[in-house]
Symmetry: C2
Subunit: 119 residues, 2 copies
DNA sequence: ATTACTGTACTAGCACAATAATACAATATA
DNA sequence: TATATTGTATTATTGTGCTAGTACAGTAAT
C-alpha cells in the first residue's frame, strides 16, 4: 500500500523519518541494503526526487551510505544507530511533556492517561 | 518577546495552536476579548495576514467569534471549550503512543522514561 | 466631525516543497 | 556485447505558505 503522509509537513522529512525509524528498529539491519530510490518512490507513491531528498538527509546523519552504482546501505556503525535510537526516544518524550505543559496537563495525569490506553 | 516557531510547520497553524491552548488553559476566559489581529501580529512578529489566517481557522472551530468592528471574543460555550480540551489531550496521547510504536518502544518503557524526567 | 481602532479584502511577489521529464556514468547480469 | 539497474544531476512547472502594501466599512471616543 502507498504510504500515508501528514498534509502539513514536508513529505521528504516524513520519508526520512520513516526510514530512520526502520533503521532504528532493525527492519533495515546494519550493513544491509535498502531499496533503491526508484523502488522506494514506487512504494511510497511519490516522485523519485523526493526520495532522493530524504535519503540525502539520512546520509548526512551518517545512518546510510551510498556505494556508487551498487545501491544504498545502512551504516555498520551500531553505536551510531543506538545513539540515534536514544535521541529519538528522548526527543519524543521531551516534546510530549512540552506539549502537555502547554495544555496545563500534569505528569501524573499523563501517566494515568497512558495506563488507561489500550496498547 | 517574539514567539518562536518550528521551521517546518506552517506558522498560521502554530499561532492557531497556541491561541487554542491559551483558550483551553483559560488564559483567555470564555466571553473575553482576545488581542486584535494587528496586536497579535506585533506580538508574534509576523504579518497580520498570517494571524488572520490562524484566527479564521479558530473561528471555523467555533472557539472564537468576531463582533464586526468591536473585536474578536472567546466563545461563551464552555462545553465546547471543555470538549476541545479533552480532544487535545486525547490526540496528544494517541500521537505519542503511535510514534513510540514506530520506534518499538513499549508503554512500560515510556512510563518509566516519563517518571525519570524532571518536570 | 475628527481620530483611532476594529475586522476584512485584495493584489503582487518571494521562497520552497514537490512533481515531471530527462539525461548520464558506472556496474552487474544475461 | 547488450541490457537493466544503480546513484546522481538538471531544468521547468505548479501549488502554497508567507510577507508586503494598501484599501474600505463600521464603531467608539474625543
Amino acid at each position: 500500500m502507498a504510504w500515508s503522509f501528514d498534509k502539513h509537513t514536508p513529505v521528504y522529512l516524513q520519508i526520512a523519518g520513516r526510514i530512520r525509524n526502520d533503521i532504528i528498529r532493525g527492519v533495515y539491519p546494519p550493513d544491509s541494503q535498502i531499496p533503491s530510490v526508484r523502488q522506494l518512490a514506487l512504494t511510497a507513491a511519490v516522485n523519485p526526487n523526493t526520495v532522493q531528498h530524504a535519503l540525502t538527509a539520512l546520509e548526512a546523519e551518517g545512518l546510510i551510505y551510498s556505494e556508487s552504482t551498487a545501491g544504498r546501505f545502512v551504516t555498520g556503525n551500531t553505536e551510531l544507530i543506538e545513539s540515534a535510537k536514544q535521541q529519538a526516544a528522548r526527543e519524543l518524550v521531551e516534546e510530549f511533556l512540552r506539549r502537555a505543559q502547554e495544555l496545563s496537563i500534569t505528569k501524573e495525569q499523563l501517566i494515568k492517561m497512558l495506563e488507561e490506553e489500550n496498547g
